[in-house]
């Protein structure tokens, strides 16, 4: 059997009724990894198969004894390699941390383990989460299970591809400017960026502190909601984490969309969007209308500034977040006879080109003489964009549009053109700027044979509405997708 044969609910029911065992699930994951893991290059490190099967066995035994072993018990889960795990290392897709072994688990990982989840491996990613195609990994690009000559998206490309190809049932990615939603769209799976502060960042290796959020990924909306349920919630170790009591995300998925007001911003369906993408998204919108939602057109002109605003602030924060990689305490260390040499060569050797580019941009934006023109203006712009979105959410419950202007592009097409790469984030960055919640849910396969992701963006704390809309889109589009012939095999 393949993990992509079943929905999340079906898996949970089958485990509870003991039609399926955890061992079966883990074995299916291992089979899929064996058959397409190398081609797709989804993982940087995988756990020892015997160890995984033993974990699964332990959970099956507990179930057999009548114990209820946790909401994610026995479910194979993949973790993006910028999320700290005590075992399997945490490379962030970089030479800098190639051999780094954290002495602690991220809070999200600890919660998954406590819920019985089985971590199958650490997924491939753009180095330090900087990228939109997973081509900037020090360990080779990951590939899209729908077409292995195409990118899976980034930076959480490995996680998206792993879920799409049945290497895991659920995955964690991270989203700073769209890094969970865009690859989810490209790979035909579901990816969530929750409200900023919803999931603890303790253990998520920082890229841009005021944007980063861990993002649950799954083949279907119910799976993503269940995973969010487990990892979300206040953490004393993260001063930016939210204290609100959590609503029930899982029931929201089937709550329906009657009476919800949906905004379709002009800026989200302009000429930059490929016609075959627009077609699928319009189909989703029509389905929502048929199900009782009300569609409204609106304009959010400040969104045009979303990408530069995002990049300047994110890279400024990143330039400081990555200053700790200096060869002194952990990670790569270059040979040099003087201190500055150690710093400069370690960082020159340990970081890839894209990371260096971003560090340079961020440092420049903060440097004396430029801070006002770049960083300060970007902060002001952020406030304008945020205010415009908040006002929009007075009028509508959600904004719906494509997650990306196009479907997955070919490997190598944009890697030499940083600006083109940055513009991939045009629809996703606004949610990160405002701290709002957003989800990418597949809304069909385009005429080019590739999946299309539909993005639903809601106000902060409005995840239940987001899940209801995504659930309806998924239903209307015939349920979760699977790549042809299992993907990549």
């Amino acid at each position: 059997m393949r993990l992509t044969d079943l929905t999340f609910r079906e898996i949970v029911r089958a485990l509870e009724s003991r039609e399926l065992s955890s061992r079966d699930l883990v074995a299916a994951a291992l089979d899929a990894i064996r058959s397409s893991g190398d081609t797709l290059n989804t993982f940087i490190r995988t756990a020892d198969p015997d160890d995984l099967l033993a974990q699964a066995q332990a959970i099956d035994d507990a179930r057999a004894r009548g114990r209820s072993p946790g909401p994610l018990a026995g479910i194979p889960i993949a973790i993006k390699d910028n999320i700290s795990t005590c075992r399997l290392g945490t490379t962030c897709g970089s030479r800098m941390l190639e051999h780094y072994q954290p002495p602690y688990d991220a809070t999200a990982v600890a919660r998954i383990r406590a819920a019985g989840g089985i971590v199958v491996g650490k997924t491939n990613m753009d180095e330090f989460a900087m990228g939109s195609s997973n081509e900037h990994s020090a360990f080779g690009p990951a590939r899209n299970p729908w077409d292995t000559e195409r990118v899976p998206g980034g930076s959480s490309g490995g996680s998206a591809a792993a879920v799409a190809a049945g290497h895991a049932v659920l995955a964690l990615g991270s989203d700073t400017g769209g890094s969970v939603r865009q690859p989810a769209g490209f790979c035909g799976v579901v990816g969530v960026k929750p409200t900023y502060g919803r999931i603890s960042r303790y253990g998520l290796v920082a890229f841009a502190s005021s944007f980063d959020q861990i993002g649950p990924m799954a083949r279907d909306v119910a799976g993503a909601a269940a995973l969010l349920d487990v990892v979300a919630g206040y953490d004393t170790r993260d001063a930016t984490s939210l204290r609100e009591t959590l609503p029930n995300y899982v029931t929201a998925v089937t709550a329906g969309v009657e009476g919800l007001r949906i905004g379709v911003p002009h800026e989200f369906v302009g000429p930059t969007v490929q016609p075959w993408v627009r077609e699928r998204v319009e189909g989703a919108l029509a389905a929502l209308e048929a199900a009782g939602a009300e569609l409204r057109e609106l304009s959010l002109p400040s969104l045009a500034h979303g990408v530069p605003t995002y990049y300047l602030i994110a890279d400024a924060e990143a330039s400081t977040n990555l200053a700790r990689y200096d060869g002194v305490k952990y990670g790569h260390r270059a040979d040099a006879s003087d201190l500055d040499g150690v710093f400069e060569r370690t960082r020159g050797e340990g970081f890839g080109d894209e990371v260096k580019r971003r560090i340079m941009l961020g440092t420049y934006a903060l440097s004396a003489g430029y801070r006002d023109r770049y960083y300060a203006s970007a902060q002001a712009a952020r406030r304008v964009i945020t205010a415009e979105l908040v006002r929009a959410f007075d009028e509508v419950d959600a904004l719906v549009g494509p997650v990306s202007p196009g479907t997955a592009f070919p490997l190598g097409e944009r890697v030499a053109d940083p600006l083109a790469m940055y513009l991939s984030d045009i629809f996703t960055a606004p949610a990160n700027l405002a701290g709002a919640a957003a989800i990418s849910v597949p809304c069909g396969v385009a005429s080019d044979g590739l999946p299309v992701g539909c993005q639903v963006t809601v106000d902060r704390h409005a995840e239940p509405v987001m899940f209801s809309l995504a659930g309806e889109i998924e239903r209307a589009c015939g349920g979760p997708l699977a790549p042809p012939s299992g993907g990549g095999a």
């Binding site: 303790y202 290796v205 924060e317 330039s319 400081t320 305490k329």
Partner: protein, 487 residues
Amino acid sequence: MTRTPVIGFEVHAQLATRTKIFCACPNAIGGEPNTRVCPVCLGLPGALPVLNERVLELGIIAALALDADVAPRSFFARKSYFYPDLPKGYQITQNEAPLALGGYLDVASTERSFRVGLRQLHIEEDAGKTTHREGRDSLIDMNRCGVPLLEIVTRPDIRSVDDAVAFAEEIRRVLVYCGVTSGRMHEGSLRFDTNVSLARPDGTPGVPCEVKNLNSFRSIRHALKSEIARQSEALDAGGEVQHETLLWNEQAGEALPMRSKEESADYRYFREPDLPDVVLADARIDELRGLLTELPAALRKRLRAQYGLTDEVAAVIAADPRTPPYFETAAAELRALEPDAEGVPTLANWLIGPLRGLAHERGVPLDAVLESRVPPARLAELVALRLAGRLTETGAKTLLEAAFDTAEELGALVERLGLDRISDETRLSAVVASVLDEHPDELARLQRGERKLVRFLVGQVMARTHGNADPRVVNELIEAAARGETP
């Protein structure tokens, strides 16, 4: 030409909290290197800072004690620079949006009092410690990373080296008194950086230089003198003073230039995104203001005025927060027993002299002494006995020791140990006669004019009476014998 020095300070005080500023590692000193760190203070990937509430409290208390305005909203920023003992490559500091602005400290120096204005108080994290070794690799201990620091920046209001040292001493007193810092400078819990320039003849300020890393009052004095001399020499020779930052080396007894930078540091400050703003309600500030006890300077003044104590005695009592309440209770008890206000200075002397000395000698913590061994009433009673003339000085000291070591009533102890002062002339005459019989040579020499033998013979009588003889009476009797009058 004498040029007036213009001096200011940056005071760095390690806050007396149990844990570090952004993590739960113990805030302590000593121990093996790299044994008091965690992912947060070590700067591991993915770790995040969370502010210690006690750090905030102590910062506010210090600000209130120094009359600074506490900002209702302050925040932290990242100050970026690369340094091996700065694990994140940036320091989290409130430098740009401090906890409090303004404030002042009044300082008494020799004959006068002067005021030093403050610019700001802010909190920040300390960095680790680097050991530099000549011609070898430098070694880094991260234990000190994340220790909470309070930085107090003064205005350059100080005009002499003596005043500078007096300021340093007084600010230490205030901070220790309020419980903000331990003030143990030899442990590094209080460090000073100074900036000093020489005023031009027309009164305009000269170019300031900084001397950093002053960890004792002695080094402050030494460094300032040396820096003033250096600048004077340069100006006298017709040159200019260049702005420099110097590191004070205690062993070498000199300030060495720090590594020069090709360009002045660009710290690229921006608001720390991992920490929410510090928002303080007025109610909270008032609550903390209520915790502030009377500060040393005000206390000293009051002790002098209210109890007639000298400067020195008042200063000693005020220096330790445990002694003033004890002293005031004892003083009240003494006044009740002996309504003679002049006895209180004597009480004060007994407290800071023999009682504290005895505690130290016996190795008993002062708290225990003041609370149970010799509570205020007990000391007052003892001093009252002394003042009433019932005990000699020696006798009183003996009684103190006994009162320290046992729980017996003082009256009973006096009797049991035979400490009553012997003033009865008849009794004493007998003892004097007996002593003179035993020392006929000495008596003869005394009568011939060897004055120093008075002391010897008096001493003999005192010894014979275990110190309880009234020395005045014994002296008179010996003098009479010296004159040839038979007892």
